[in-house]
Amino acid sequence: MRAAVDAYRTMVEKDLVPESAATDNGVNFLSFTNGKIGQQSIGAFSIGSLVNDHPEINFGVTLIPGIEGGASSFAGGDNIVVTAGTPKLSAVQEFIEFAYSPEGQKILAQNGSIPTRLDIADQTLEGLDPRLQVAVDAIDVAKTPYTLLFNDLINSANSPWATFTNAAIFGDDVDGAFATAQDDMQAIIDNAAP
């Protein structure tokens, strides 16, 4: 992780990163679509939307390259949540089974979603855009961080993770950024325990 941070810092130092990157809060998340960007690190879900919504864009996909060769990725996803005590449990069950059936997977993939069942991925992606295959390959090398506090720790604009990436890449004190992020994350986890 240190090496990755250093790589990013080097890019900033060499003036390869636009000034606006330091305050990019994700408003222009998929800036790929305006055709002005050459390369973007982004979640695999965007492959589907580019394929379906922007057939005019010519793009290639690859895994994020590692510092010393190899590739990396992390896998997360959206959840199906069932509220406690619902009287329609059997209908929900039926829907989930359908979503994970070969037929359901196919429908999801056709609409730009990445296949979730690796065992039938080949079957699911058959006849679809080959670039979606990269997403399936990513799952092989992906790590999956797991927490109930994902929003607080990672996703929110004021999360320790968001603060950390900015501080580590654009700030002056990399060690401090690591230490602060560690402490802040721990504090959030500690406070969440009821």
Binding site: E19, S20, T163
Partner: protein, 305 residues
Amino acid sequence: MTIAAVAPVAGATRRRSKAHQWKGLLYIAPAMVLVLVFFVLPVLFTVWMSFHNWPLMGQPKWIGLRNYSRMLSDTRFLSAIGFTAFYTVIVTVAIFALAFPLALFVERERRGVGVYRSIFFLPVVVGLATASLLWTWLANVDSGLFSPALRALGLTEHSINLLATFEGAFTTIVVMVVWKIVGFTMILLLTGLQAIPSDLTEAARIDGAGRWQRFRHLTLPLMRRTLALALILSITGSVLAFDQFYIMTSGGPQNSMISVVYYIFNQSFVSFHLGYGAALSIVLLIALVALSVAQLWLLRVEDER
């Protein structure tokens, strides 16, 4: 309309005055209902929530004062208080330092004074969120106004991202807020200035008081009430600041501009600690009331007998 001419009997008069009181209650009832429904009840409910661990989904659990005791060791909350206090002081000083000269400038009847007043007041009618968005664009490093302008003028070598550092972003926000608010404070101060009879100023001129002495010994003391009002409005507004930080910097860079309200928002609607957010809100409410009482007391005007 007819007026019945009834000979007033002692009993009738009393009955009528009682009916009169009921009628008075009836007239203020709508206002009372509004205050009750939209202020008193929500505050009471917030107090009730603050004694609970109250998640967005799931069952609230009574935890007594634990939400309150948690604040004392919540470093993020304490730093939010520190930042809010810092911001309040800077912004209030900046607004008054500019609003007073402006008020003095537009008080005197001169050519085009109406135009000046309108120009200074115009930003006030823009919403704070709208103004924030406007200034976010103005401060944008690539497509905005300030950075490219500075660069075009040769003052900076390449475009500087104003919002990327605390100093730059904080200055930009303070300037934006002053631009947005100063006209309102100016109008308030102007009414105070205009309430001072010109005879007093002239008497002071004859008494040999110079411009500054007149301001110090006459204008300021006679404007105590106006100043108290303007100060309370300004400080309350600053303590409750949220929109500009949320919109312009998302609390950044690196969470350095999380105000108290921003923190309450995050706790309540990002982390879904609704009980803790409620407790923080109650503490903020008490702090604001205390601040206002303190200011009124400092700027009190003794009853003139």
